[in-house]
């Protein structure tokens, strides 16, 4: 127990890094993903191709590799980001691509009839989207989005590769120094706690949207 007290400050400092990456990635990647999904469905061909190329690269290569390229690769082109900003950039770009695919699926699952009903009632494009389409899409995509959100918490441990100290790395350091698995056990418990919070939020939000089917 005394040992737990000794390593806890380091683990909590790592947790703080994990939470920051998680939080900012979510805040930035969700709206970006929405824009990207609109780009994927755009009638402007070059825009569509560009966006599809971006999604292809982001989903087609490991996030670990993308982190390395942003932090070590971009400086070759004289684009230099500090570690934390580089990690955020890579995470936001990667997660926006996945979110975009989820939003696209959600948008495409709304029947044409909803749009046509809105059209004959003379609702504007914006009114149709904000009052009818988007609320329905949100409900449809919630389970898939939360899957990604939970993945994100765990994926954030990849930032060790560019030298950031997150939760898992803090645990690793303590394990190697003290030759014991206890730190990793604690790391597991902390991840589990964070993810349980997310799952709880998911339940709450899904319940909120359960008033219709």
């Amino acid at each position: 127990m005394e040992y737990v007290g000794q390593i806890m400050p380091a683990l909590l400092a790592g947790t703080w890094m994990t939470v920051r990456i998680f939080f900012w990635t979510l805040i930035l990647a969700l709206p970006l993903g929405m824009l990207v999904s609109l780009g994927e469905m755009s009638k402007i061909k070059p825009l569509k191709w560009l966006v599809e190329f971006y999604v292809w690269i982001m989903r087609g290569t490991p996030l670990l590799l993308q982190l390395i390229f942003v932090f070590y690769g971009l400086p070759i082109l004289h684009i230099v980001f500090p570690r934390y900003q580089a990690a955020l950039l890579a995470f936001v770009l990667n997660y926006a691509a996945y979110f975009a695919e989820i939003f696209r699926g959600g948008l495409q699952s709304i029947s044409e009839g909803q749009y046509e009903a809105a059209l004959v009632l003379r609702l504007s494009r914006w009114q149709t989207m904000s009052k009818i389409i988007i609320p329905q899409v949100v409900k449809i995509v919630l389970p898939s989005i939360f899957n990604e959100v939970i993945n994100l918490i765990k994926d954030s441990s990849l930032v060790y590769v560019i030298g950031l100290g997150d939760l898992l790395r803090a645990g690793n350091v303590a394990m190697a120094r003290d030759v014991t698995l206890v730190p990793l056990l604690l790391v597991g418990v902390i991840y589990l706690a964070m993810i349980s919070l997310c799952a709880l939020a998911q339940k709450k939000i899904e319940k909120h949207y359960s008033y219709y089917r």
Binding site: E116, A117, V120, L121, K131, K139
Partner: protein
């Protein structure tokens, strides 16, 4: 009065409708009958402004129709799934006609009463039967005060025994002075409600 003159429609070079002409007087009911593939639904979609015509004329009271003059009751109703019955009906009057909350709600409740749907305001579409959804779809269309109400196959998504109910409802709406245009493949139904029946046939290719 709705006048359709020599209306034609072709999709990618394939002729769907040709030389359709009819006149529908205010307060009357016109049924358009024909087998599937005859272009009935396309005709309704053109009149409702959901589709463009290739040639011909559509006039409401002698003028090109402006949007909102034609109300539509879709085959599978297309109620807004995320909105309650009341909100389905009041949404467009509030947003488009700029009616106040109160006005829109009062009108919606009156329409629901007229359609024998009082008490269902707070329900969501998934909680309604087919016949009830249809009544809400009618109320939603009527709340926008259209000149003409069009139905796409109003009996096809319902149990057969509900047909007479639909007939009664449509004739009841006629008493209020509503002009109605009904697409159907059900001949008996068409004859029972119509002042005028228009028959369309599939056009042979080429």
């Amino acid at each position: 009065m709705l006048e359709v003159k020599k209306l034609a429609k072709a999709f990618n070079g394939r002729q769907i409708l040709k030389n359709i002409s009819f006149t529908l007087n205010d307060g009357d009911i016109l049924t358009i009958v024909g087998p599937s593939g005859a272009g009935k639904t396309t005709l309704l979609r053109i009149i409702a402004g959901l589709e463009t015509k290739s040639s011909g004329e559509i006039l409401i009271d002698g003028k090109e129709p402006t949007s909102g003059q034609v109300g539509v009751v879709f085959q599978d109703f297309n109620l807004f799934l995320n909105l309650s019955v009341l909100a389905n009906i009041t949404l467009a009057p509030q947003l488009v006609l700029k009616e106040s909350d109160r006005e829109a709600k009062k009108q919606a409740l009156d329409l629901l009463k007229q359609l024998q749907m009082t008490g269902h305001e707070a329900q969501y579409p998934y909680q309604l039967s087919g016949g009830q959804k249809q009544r809400v779809a009618i109320a939603r269309a009527l709340a926008m005060k259209p000149k003409i109400l069009c139905y796409d196959e109003p009996t096809s998504a319902l149990d057969p025994e509900l047909r007479q109910e639909v007939e009664k409802m449509i004739l009841g709406l006629k008493k209020t002075g509503l002009t109605q245009l009904i697409i159907t493949h059900d001949l008996t139904f068409a004859e029972n409600v119509a002042d005028q029946v228009l028959r369309v046939k599939p056009l042979s290719e080429g």
